[in-house]
Amino acid sequence: MLSATKILLGSIPAMALIMGVSAVSTTGDYHHGASLKCSQCHTMHYSATHSYSGSPSSGYVGTTGPYTYLLQGEINELCLRCHNSGGKDVLGLGSTLQTNGRLAGALNWADGEGTNDPGYEHWMGHSLGSTDTAPGGTFSNPDGLSCTDCHHQHGYQGYGSPLVDPVVTGGIADYWTKYGTYRNLIGNVRQITYVAGNLEGGNNLFVDVYEVDDDVDHYSWNNVDYNEPANTESAYADFCGMCHSDFHGGIGDTNTGGNTANNHEFLRHPTQEVNIGGQPSHGHTSLGKWDTNLARVKVMSETGDWTTAGNATLTPSCFSCHRSHGNMNPYGLIYMDRFAATADITEEGIVGAASYNTCSNCHVQGL
């Protein structure tokens, strides 16, 4: 049993130093390349009387070890040693020390696995420790849902396979230094690719995620947008569909339905291919309406323009409606009132909004 109440580590300065060093020593996410430090997670002998700097206070091993793979502790407990406090808090209520926003929102504990912060319930997103079968799929982790079910603990730097990019001149070397797999997510057919930070000086439309900047707030809602390098695919939906398989598919697939004649008659909401305003004979969605939105959900764009009615390539996907970790709404939904100001967007969306407000970002029925 772990508590989601924030752990104020005695070694916060040391942690901050590690994080700070990582930000300049590597491109993109932590836990790969130069910032992949074995001793942060592994112990050779299940013994930690002191740290590598000699400090007796920062050594850590779990109490029920030794553990397989020479880990210092149980996987979730080990990850949360750093990610339940400080600047990269992903569980329940964020830390007061957090400078980053949380685009992915907040995880919670499954029933009986830990104590959730007030407002964060097990039905509000992904629940660590859950042995449930994933809705819409067959996946379950008999040991309980863990961070490494979605994130590769050793990073995927260089494993990304963005579509052919004529800008790349450095061959595979550039791939290693510029491209990464977004948030070290485990890939399916292909990885969710991105260019860490702003290394190319702008948006590269051949990768899936556009991280505007790599500053202290680079995990925030306003620092990430989604490209659509192939207009019939969503790398993100492909990733989510590894577990929630019925929720993802192409037009006409048995699980999602729909027809290409008018992008209509779906059995489940499409997560790729179908553009806003792409149902001309039914008028279900409207680019004109999208254009008038003040606060918007995230969608994919082929052109790097996510706002204007003239862009007919905008495509919703999983992240349009859900925080991938969760939040304080059912299903980790984002309640986005299109009349609200972008400055008021929280992890839950807009305070006081409801689920239909999110639908109303694109759909013409109702407000």
């Binding site: 779906f266 909401h269 689920s355």
Partner: protein, 311 residues
Amino acid sequence: MSALLLAALMAVLAAPQDPFRAGRAPRRAGGAGEGRATEQAHHGERLVCSDCHTVHNSRGGQPMRFDGVSMPAPVLLREANPTQLCLACHSGSYPLIPDVLGPVSYTADPAGGWFAQGLGLPNAHGHDLSPPSALAAPGSTESFTIECASCHDVHGSSNYRNLLLDPPGSADDGDVRVVVDQIIAPNGANAAQVYTPANLLDRSGMGEFCNSCHDNFHGRSASEEGAQRPWLRHPQEVAIAGAPHADFGHWSGPIVNRVRVETPTDDLVPSVDDRVSCLSCHKAHGSSRPDSLIYADGLRRRSTCQQCHDQ
């Protein structure tokens, strides 16, 4: 024998009376002209997508459909088709939601009446809901397969009861505005007070709406009502007051179970602006009487006629 008749008459007279229809002017819940569209269910802020649609057809891995079927339905619906979806809530399962499938128990006199039980089976008491094939509309050369969405906009409209702005028949010209004010606005828990004739101030448009399909029954041409007296079909939207064949004196007297009329310019019924509409004689969905008729005294068809004509 006369004592029995008297007792029957007294029973009719003792039926629940409508204080407004007995002549008291009510306070309106909203201004005339636009109905109370913003307070209707399935419209504006009350149009809740998840009431009818399911994005993934999953809730904890369980089906979201009201009928318990695990397969997802077209258009992400939570039932096999739109009419079944409507009836999942509007068939008496939820006491706070108006029931449209007879017998109705939430109120003794639902404004829209009710559809006969047995979808798809023909009946002589009103509109046939979900017939297996299209049926000819009386007064028209067109045929229709009546579903809930044939008359109501499932996503709401600015019309009374979310009626379609462009009903399916070809006899209407452009948008049809059906304007009805309510005394009590719906709040999700007061169906018995809201969906009754006593709560309504009919203003205009219902005749034109019905005319979309029953096009010979409304209008002033020779193929419809005729241009003037003598009428070829019963006219609508003609003031009772001053109509030679009507008896406004009788209408403005102490009538029991007064039928609905349009009152386009004031909030008072009876008054000089009162005029007959389709809903004066018929329930829109259906009734226990032939042709969806209203028997004002509960016994005889002529009692409805007599309210204006007193022949």
